[in-house]
Every structure is written in structure tokens, then in C-alpha cells.
Amino acid sequence: MTQLATVVSVAACGLLFSGCLASFQSALARTGEGISRDVTRALSPLEEFERRRRLCGNIRAETVAFAEEKTLGDAMGVKVTAAKGGLALTYTQSAGTQMQGHVALASPDAVNARARTVAVVGAGLARHGGRPELPWRFGVLASDEVNAVSTPGGLVMVTRGALDAATSEDALAGILAHEVAHVVLRHALERYATEKRHACYGELFAGNLARTMAPPEDVTPGGLEAARRLFGDDVARAISEGVVLDLNDGKRRGLLDALSTKTMEALYARGLDQPAEVAADALAVDLLLAAGYRPEEFIQFVGGLPSKGAFFAHHPSPKDRVREMTRHLVQRRTEEDPFRPEPRALPVPLAAPLSQARK
């Protein structure tokens, strides 16, 4: 009886997705794989269902196109920046110029010098991170809370309060390195990809299928339907057909707004899971070692944070972070890495004169 129900439901899937073959062919053509002889025959409803299920399952952070990642990250960056009172830099813009036109920087002043220090230190670190070709941007948020954030695509921002709290360039580099690590490891993007994957499954399992075919993950049919509603029927269907999502499409402005808000809520209300934070700390230590900084300064900085507060509020406790980073550092120093520079004896003073470098 159950088998019969499954067959009927899968047949319904085939009817529901009329034109499956055409979209499959177009998807293959887009990916440049061509269409083999075996594929050109019409897929049975069950084969088509399995194909789409695999397609949904392949939606992971690592398979999100970079343009999609950056658009999402930029939208999140706009919202974070607005929520934190803007960036701590000054600039001028000629009257009448368009927003995307030329933006002239004001003469370097105290604020710009600090912003420039962060930009320089961040650029030096990003060379070692595993995604050096990203358009990395390192800014200072005009907020006095001690915090730092990053968004997919390579936007990293540290608050003025955190910059004030860092007593050395090594500590500042550690704060930036932790955020670089989140981008490199695609942690925020994984939240987005999860929603997208669920929307894809929601489309696939629409109707009775969710009751007759095993749900793909530890989610409820209601959860899948909610994700499907978040993206909207048309987009969910396009995703389930393998279409790359263009978030820059003007028609999807509302969708980008909703997705960036949803991803930010997931990140900043619930936070990343603790293993992700531990992984970001470990990679931060690796980046600091590769760049020649003293990770001890960052570990000490983290150890001095209050147990509860705004800074990395969803992270493991400072005590646990210090323990894990220290353990990781000890392990790394026992390993042979011929490319690692000799460790510095003393930390780099913060705001070391950059005037020489600008010449």
C-alpha cells in the first residue's frame, strides 16, 4: 500500500513538474556539460524526482556562486553598517554625482588614519587566508561596543570600541583574522545555503510527497514549506531546476532584502554554532602565525573579554576560547612548516607609523 502511494505520488511529481526534461536540458547546457545520449531520453517521474533531490542536496555553501555570495554579503553589510551607526571614516562626494559614481576620500585625518590602518592590516592578513582573490574590504564601524562582524564575499568590519580595546597590532590582526576565517570557511553562507536547500526541498516535497518520501534532513515539512515561502514559489522552482540565482535582478530586490535579513537574524540572534566559532579561532591562529604575528596577543585579548557581553556574544566563553586556542597554538608549534616565519619576540605596536608606507 505504501509502495502504491509512493508511485502515485511520484507520478504526481512528474505531472507537477511538466517540462522537467526541457529544464534539465537547459540546466545542463548552462553548466556546459552538454547532453549525453542517455540523458536525452525522457526521465521517468522517479528518475526526475531523484535527479532533483540530488540537485537540492548539492546546494551547500561551497556551491553558491560567488556573485550570489557577494550580493548577499553586501546586502548584509549595508544593514549591519546602518544598524551600527555607519562607518568611522570620512569622505567627500561632489555635489550631483551619482551614488555609484566617483567617491573621493577626504584628506587623511585621525579617523581616516585608523580606518587606513585597519585596511592595511586586513589586506596583509587576507593574503594568507585561502581565498586571497576575494575583494576584501576592512572597515571600522562607528560603534563604541566591542565587536566585529564579517559578511560573505569579503567584508570585515571591526567596531571603534574593539579597535580602542586592542593594545597591539597583533590583537587587532587577531580580531580581523577571526572574521576573515568566518568568510574563508563560509560560515554565514552555510546558513543561507541551508535556507536555499530547504526551499528547494520544499518545492520538491510539495503536496503529499513529504509524507511518502523520507524528508532529506532533520527538518519538518512545515520547515521546508516556510523556506519555500521565504524564496517564493517561482524562485524555489527555479532553484529546484538548477538555475543559478541572480540576486542582482531588480525583480528580486524584495527577495534579497528578506534573505539578508533572515541570514542576519540567524547569525546575530542565534549566532553560529560553537564548533564553527572554535574553527574560526583555530584558523585565526593559523593566519596570525603565517603572517608573523604573535597569536598570544589575540589570545590574551580574548581572555580579557567579559564572559557575557556584546563581543562575540554567541561564542564559547572567553575561558573556553583561550583554552582551545592555546591548545591549537601549542600543537601548531610542534608541527614542521617550512613556510612559517620566525615568531616575533614582541608584539607590533598598534598604529605603527604608516607615513613611510604611503610614500
Binding site: R30, E62, T63, V64, A65, F66, A67, E69, K70, T71, D74, A75, G77, V78, T81, A82, G86, L87, L89, Y91, Q93, M99, Q100, L105, A119, V120, V121, A123, G124, R127, H128, G130, R131, P132, E133, L134, R137, G139, G242, V244, N248, D249, R253, L256, D257, S260, A290, A291, G292, E336, D337, P338, F339, R340, P341, V348, A352, Q356, A357, R358
Partner: protein, 168 residues
């Protein structure tokens, strides 16, 4: 109990030692504009400029942070500064449209990474004065970051005595 811990630690360290780099092991270029030099000095003649993700074969550690390397399948030994090298390959990136995975070299060539604030984010921001102000700030940040050249970063790293190829 302590003896067991020490045994485990010793075994793990022994395992790590076994992973030491050997001649002709595969290594990767991790930094942009990495110079392939004819001698282990920064002032040596540049044979080629390598890209992120290029594969090399490691030969030996030289003085002053340089390493002797070979191009795969070639006999000639060249030299690269160690801070530009990695034991691990850089992460792959995704094409903007095809949804397929490409290596970092192809990604860099595509120009996908050089675009400014995304059009979608810009369009979203103009609907709200506060968001628009934030978008303007991010445009200014991009302008600032674009001003920060590799030359400036290198100079700062040298001044701070951090990992960077010596000046020629």
C-alpha cells in the same frame, strides 16, 4: 593516566614529524603576484610571476626565507619566498553564472572578484535613507581599500618585521 597522555602526545608528535616536507612534494602558491626567481634573493632576476593556486614541487629550504622549487615536470630549479607558499591548495571558487567550481587562478582571471558594491545591494539600499547612508559608507570604504596597494601593504609588513618578501 599521565603516562598514557604522554604516550598519546608522543605518538601524535611522531606522526606530525612524519609529515615533514620531502623533496619533490607538491606545494602551492598562496599569494598573488608571487615571483619565481633565478636566485634566492629579492634582487634576483624574475623568471615569471606566479598566480594563486599554481602548483610547484618543493626542493629545499634556502637562506633568508627563500625556498628552492621546480615547476611540475621541469628540471630547472627556481626560488620563491616562503611566505607566498602553502602546503594546502587554496579554496575553489564558483563561477558567477555556470554554477561550476573553478580554481582560484581562473576565478581571478574572470574579474568576478573585482566588482564594487553589488547592484542588488545598492538597489535595496536606495529605498531607505539610513540604508543609503550605509551604502555610501561602504562605497567610501571600497575607495579606501582600493587605495591600499600591495606596495603599501608590503612596506607596512616590512616596517613591522612581519612575513613579507624582502625589498629588492
Amino acid at each position: 593516566m599521565n603516562a598514557v597522555r604522554w604516550l598519546l602526545l608522543s605518538l601524535s608528535l611522531w606522526g606530525l614529524r612524519a609529515q615533514a616536507l620531502k623533496s619533490d612534494d607538491t606545494i602551492y602558491v598562496k599569494a598573488r603576484n608571487t615571483k619565481l626567481l633565478l636566485a634566492p634573493t629579492a634582487s634576483a632576476e624574475v623568471k615569471a610571476v606566479l598566480r594563486v593556486g599554481d602548483v610547484l614541487q618543493w626542493k629545499a629550504k634556502e637562506a633568508n626565507g627563500f625556498h628552492a622549487v621546480r615547476l611540475p615536470g621541469k628540471d630547472t630549479v627556481y626560488f620563491v619566498y616562503g611566505a607566498n607558499l602553502s602546503l594546502a591548495a587554496p579554496k575553489q571558487e564558483q563561477w558567477a553564472t555556470a554554477g561550476t567550481s573553478v580554481d582560484t587562478r581562473a576565478f581571478a582571471s574572470s574579474g568576478a572578484a573585482t566588482k564594487g558594491l553589488s547592484e542588488g545591494a545598492f538597489q535595496m539600499a536606495v529605498s531607505d535613507a539610513q540604508l543609503e547612508k550605509a551604502a555610501r559608507d561602504l562605497l567610501a570604504l571600497e575607495a579606501l581599500q582600493a587605495e591600499v596597494t600591495d606596495v603599501e601593504v608590503d612596506a607596512h609588513l616590512r616596517e613591522a618585521k612581519l612575513a613579507v618578501e624582502p625589498a629588492p
